[in-house]
Structure formats: C-alpha cells, structure tokens
C-alpha cells in the first residue's frame, strides 16, 4: 500500500505542506523535509520549480524564479532526494508543471520517483483526459498516486469522473483563484465544502489554495480530510528562515 493511502486511512485531519525545492537556498531541500516531519506534518508536496507557473500567485512565482536562479533542476532535485527515505517516512509528493517532466521523459521521471520513494505527483496542467488516455498506465506501473484538482466551478459530473480516475485523494482548490490569492473563507467556500462532502466520493479530499493559518485550516478540515499550506509557509521561510519551521507548524495546530 502506498504511503499516501496509509496516511489517508489514519483517523486524523492531515496537515500537508508545500514548499519550492531550491528555495530559499539551493540545498535546503532535505533539511526542510526533515524538519517538517519532525514537527508533525503529515505529508509534503515538494515543488519542482518552473519558469512559467500559470496556476500560481506571486509568492510561489517568486520562490520558483529564485529556485531556478539558485540552480535547481529536475536532475538535481532527484540527486538531493536520493537518500531521503533513510531519514523520512511520511508521504512525499512532487508537485510541478508538465513541461519539465516531459523533457525528463515521463516514464523516466516516474521510474526515478519510485526509486527514490516518492509516493505521488500533482501536475496542475496535465488534464484528467490526457492523463487517462496517455499516462495513467505509466504512473500505475511505478506505483504513483496522481492527484487531480477540483474547483468550485467543477461540475458534479466531472468530479465523479475525476474521482473514478483518482487513486489517492482529490485536491480541492478552495476558490476560483491562483495560489495564495485569498486569505479568508466565506459562505461560498462553506457551501462548496458542504456540496463536495455530500457527493460521498470514494477518494478523500484535501483542501488547498488560501489555507494560511489555524482558522482557515480548521474551517477547511471540518468536512475535508486535510489541508495543504503553500504560499503562507513560503512567506514564513522568506521572513524567518529555514530554522523556524517549528514556529510555523505550531501556529497551525
């Protein structure tokens, strides 16, 4: 059983953290992952930086640009993560855009993930139909969970299709926005969270985009299985450095 599925079966609300590999410094990757696990984070999304991150707001755009400037590449990230399973046991997911994966070779990329012990991928610009038709068999061959996004605008019918193709969790984008764009949840989000809960999907849902503190984390996880924090964590690293990860996590729960 994949580490993600095991974790999802646990009787608790999951806190997942996203960070951009190669930021703030090129070689911070392993330290950030280890510190996140030590401080009780349940799952980690390791951001593979891309020059043109369409779905991201300014914070992740800037961390991505800085990481690339620092010299981060797909190959280097895999090198940094080569021994990660000697020290870290929580689920690790790589989140990135499709073009760098295509250039590495989709099958080679997936094989490398399996070799290192990466459990899943989130690729915002690989649509479910393309995945289903061309890539699903490759992901499955290497035991990877692929995670799809849904938004408040996604129809119930499409959510059902995504639920069928998914084999881990569904990434519930909290509002129609890029990452980090909104800081509070209103009625629109509550209604959306309730609507999705009522669908009784087979895959659990984890909420992302706009989760920045204890209040939004708790609100998001009322109905969902967990929540992902990205931009707020990156801002924290920018202002307080990589030695302050414990402070951030303890402010959430």
């Amino acid at each position: 059983m994949n580490r993600i599925n095991k974790k999802l079966a646990a009787d608790k609300k999951l806190l997942s953290i996203y960070f951009t590999a190669g930021y703030p410094e090129l070689n911070d990757t392993v330290k950030i992952i280890e510190d996140l696990e030590k401080n009780g984070v349940d799952m980690i999304e390791i951001g593979l930086p891309f020059s043109d991150p369409l779905a991201d707001g300014p914070t992740i755009q800037e961390s991505s640009t800085a990481a690339l400037k620092n010299g981060m590449t797909t190959k280097l990230l895999f090198e940094q993560l080569a021994d990660i399973r000697k020290t870290v046991s929580i689920p690790l997911i790589i989140m990135g855009y499709f073009n760098p994966m295509m250039q590495y070779g989709v099958e080679a990329f997936c094989a490398k993930c399996q070799e290192i012990g990466i459990d899943g991928l989130i690729i915002p610009d690989l649509p479910v139909a393309e995945y289903h038709e061309h890539y699903q068999h490759i992901f499955e061959k290497y035991g990877l969970v692929n995670v799809f996004l849904i938004t408040p605008q996604t129809s119930d019918e499409r959510i059902r299709f995504i639920d069928q193709v998914s084999n881990g969790f569904i990434y519930m984008v909290s509002s129609a926005s890029t990452t980090g764009a909104k800081n509070t949840f209103g009625n629109e989000q509550s209604n959306y969270f309730d609507r999705i809960a009522a669908l009784q999907l087979q895959n659990p849902q984890i909420v992302g985009f706009g989760i920045s503190n204890k209040a939004t984390f708790e609100q998001a996880t009322k109905t969902a299985k967990g929540a992902i924090i990205g931009s707020a964590f990156i801002k924290h690293l920018t202002h307080n450095g990589v030695d302050s990860i414990a402070d951030f996590i303890s402010s959430i729960r």
Partner: protein
C-alpha cells in the same frame, strides 16, 4: 494528411488543452460553443459588416511591380497594413469580441507584447462598450510607450506583468492568472494562433479572411485562385495561419514561413522556434518551443517585438514537422534591409515583423512566372523609432 484541427484539438502531434482545472469550465464553454456561435447568421452578419465598414475590408491585393522586377518574379502584397489599427490583429479581436458578447461576458482581458494586439483589443472593447484589461510586460511597457498611450486613450487599463522575464510570455501568464481568478464574467482574447484548444483554431478561422480574399482577388487579377506560394512571417503565427488557411489542402500552393533569426539562429539571441525549439507545453498547448534541457522556457530575441515569442502555434509546428511548410529564418539585419527596400521600391513602410517575410528573396529563388503572395501583416509607424535608431535616419 489533414491540416485542420481534429476533435481532440490536435494538429497531428501538436495542440491539445494543457490547462489547470481552474480554467476548464471557461475553455470547455468556448470549445463547445465557438463553431456554433460563428455559424449563426446574426454573428456572420455583424462580423462581416464590421470587417467591411469598421476595419475597411477587403484589404487590397497589390501587384508590387518594382519589387517583382527586382527579383524577377510576380509579387503580390496582401495589404493587412491598411486595416484599421494598422495590422491583421483586428480581424481576430472583432471576431472574439462578438463571441464574448454571445457568451454574455462583460469583461475582456488580453496579453500584448509590442502592443499591437493590445491596441486591437482595446479598440473593439471601446466599440462595444466593454471593460478591457491588457497585460503587458513591464519591460515592453517602457519600450512601447506610444501603444500604451493608445490603449489608455481607448479606455483600457494596462497592467504591467512583473513576473519572470517581464515580457510577452509573462504577460500571457498574467492574463491566464486573471482568467483563473475571474472565471465567470471574463473572456480572454488571445492574440495569436496559440493557447489551449479551441484558441488556435478559432483565431485561425477569424484570420482566414486573409486567404479567402486572396483567392477571389487573384482570380480577378490573374484568372486563377491559387498562387504558387504564400509567404508570411511567424511569431505565434496568426497572420500566417490566416494567409495559409484556404491553401493548406492545395499541395500546388507552396507555404513559406519566415521566423526571426535575431542576431543569427545559433547566436543565443534568436526567435527561430522551428530551428531551436523542442516539443513541449507552453500556455496550454503542446507545440515546438524554445526551452532549456531541463524544460524551462527561455526568452527569445528579435528586433521585432511581435516575433519574439518562445513558441509557435500548433498548426505551424505541424506544418513544419510534416514538411507541408517550408521554414526560413531571417536575421535582424536582413529584415531591416528588406523593410527599407520595400519603402523605397513601393512606397510602403512595413512593420518590422512583416519585413522578415519580405527578406525571403535572399533565401529563396522564385521562377519568373511564379505568383508569390506575401502577407503585408502590418504597417511600420509603430516601428519608426527602431528604424531611426538602426538606419541613423
């Protein structure tokens, strides 16, 4: 071999819609309705009326006598430079603003590099009384002050793209992000034959008026519909797509694409995407694009601000890969010289983008009785400063 888009949005290996889920409802709405909207009689009537009375179509097909004599062949110029706003761009913005109206959208966003598409979009928004936001790279805003002023006069808001390299590709990213954040009321008018399906096909169909007119105009002048060659410059490739469209399935018509080689294809400062690009994903579309081995999109260079896009439309990637199109690349220097030559031989100052197409005679020898139609995609007023600096005028 088919050169039209298939039901999945592909031209051969290229195209598709590689978009984040947040954009799916918008793009899907467009995909399922664009052809239907374009076929309705009321749309057709309004579109054709505006092209005639507002844009000034049909644009003339002009026999360039002195240019023909110089290169010992028969050259016709398709005068898109005479359109309102000075380039082919307006054919597409007229079409898309009408699509937006049919979809009930009340806010328009667009990206622009040099500002030509931004001006063409701001123009049709003023015409229709619709709110308009144009994203433009911070660096381009500095370089293209007159077009920024035009957009503002037309009532558009120009928002600087401050991310990445602060040029056209980043302006496109910002427009896409705006669309993600405004999924219900906004239509995104993409300016070239790029982006997720159905954009490349929709833009191509709006620009196809260019080749539709060439056919009957050539029939009138030469007693034949098909030239031997059609020639156009390519950045993203919308004027080229429109110039080729009605000839794609006639193998006797040669298709010639001219890209910007900048300071030389292998100089490191170039925008010759077919030569330097590899298959990848840019702005929601699988196509040839300039990128590092690691898959990071690189910044192209050309003296012409309208050709420095790191990708090329998926139709053109398909024409390149299948060999249906013949691709050339022309340096800054050769383009500038060709622009000056046209000015002095025919009394037409072309846009620098167009000057690249005019430089084809350096690379390709035509027969005396060949009929060569060149898309004169835009006029050179916007480029006067560049011409002044280059020729020390």
């Amino acid at each position: 071999m088919s050169y039209t888009v298939n039901e999945k949005g592909y031209y051969g290996d290229f195209g598709g819609a590689f978009i984040p889920e947040m954009l799916y409802p918008n793009v899907e709405e467009l995909r399922t309705s664009y052809l239907q909207i374009m076929e309705t009689p009321s749309f057709q009537k309004e579109f054709n009326q505006l092209l005639k009375d507002y844009v000034g179509r049909p644009s003339p097909l002009f026999y360039a006598k002195r240019l023909s004599e110089k290169y010992n062949t028969k050259v016709y110029l398709k005068r898109e430079d005479l359109n309102h706003t000075g380039a082919h761009k307006v054919n597409n913005t007229i079409g898309q603003i009408l699509v937006a109206k049919h979809l009930g959208k009340n806010r328009i966003i667009a990206e622009t590099g040099a500002g030509q598409h931004g001006v063409a979009t701001a123009t049709v928004c003023a015409l229709m009384g619709i709110q308009c936001v144009v994203y433009m790279g911070e660096i381009d805003i500095e370089r293209q002050a007159p077009n920024v002023a035009r957009m503002k006069m037309l009532g558009a808001e120009v928002r600087p793209a401050k991310s990445g390299s602060k040029t056209l590709k980043d302006a496109t990213n910002e427009a896409i992000r705006d669309w993600i954040n405004n999924p219900v009321d906004t239509h995104y008018i993409i300016g070239s034959a790029i982006g997720p399906h159905p954009y490349p096909d929709m833009v191509t169909r709006f620009q196809a008026i260019i080749s539709e007119e060439i056919k009957w105009q050539l029939q009138e002048k030469e007693g034949r519909e098909n030239p031997d060659y059609v020639v156009a410059c390519i950045g993203g490739g919308s004027n080229a797509a429109g110039t080729y469209y009605h000839f794609l399935d006639n193998p006797e018509v040669g298709i010639i694409a001219v890209e910007a080689a900048g300071k030389g294809v292998h100089s490191g400062e170039s925008a010759a995407t077919s030569q330097l690009g590899k298959e990848g994903i840019i702005h929601g579309c699988k196509t040839l694009l300039m990128q590092t081995n690691d898959g990071q999109i690189t910044e192209p260079y050309s003296i012409s601000a309208g050709l420095d896009y790191p990708g090329v439309g998926p139709l053109h990637s398909h024409l390149y890969r299948t060999g249906r199109g013949e691709f050339f690349s022309v340096t800054d220097d050769d383009a500038m010289t060709a622009g000056l030559e046209l000015s002095q031989l025919e009394g037409i100052i072309p846009a620098i983008e167009t000057s690249h197409a005019l430089a084809i005679f350096n690379d390709k020898k035509f027969k005396p009785d060949d009929i060569v139609v060149i898309s004169l995609s835009g006029r050179g007023d916007k480029d006067l400063n560049t011409y002044i600096d280059y020729f020390k005028l």
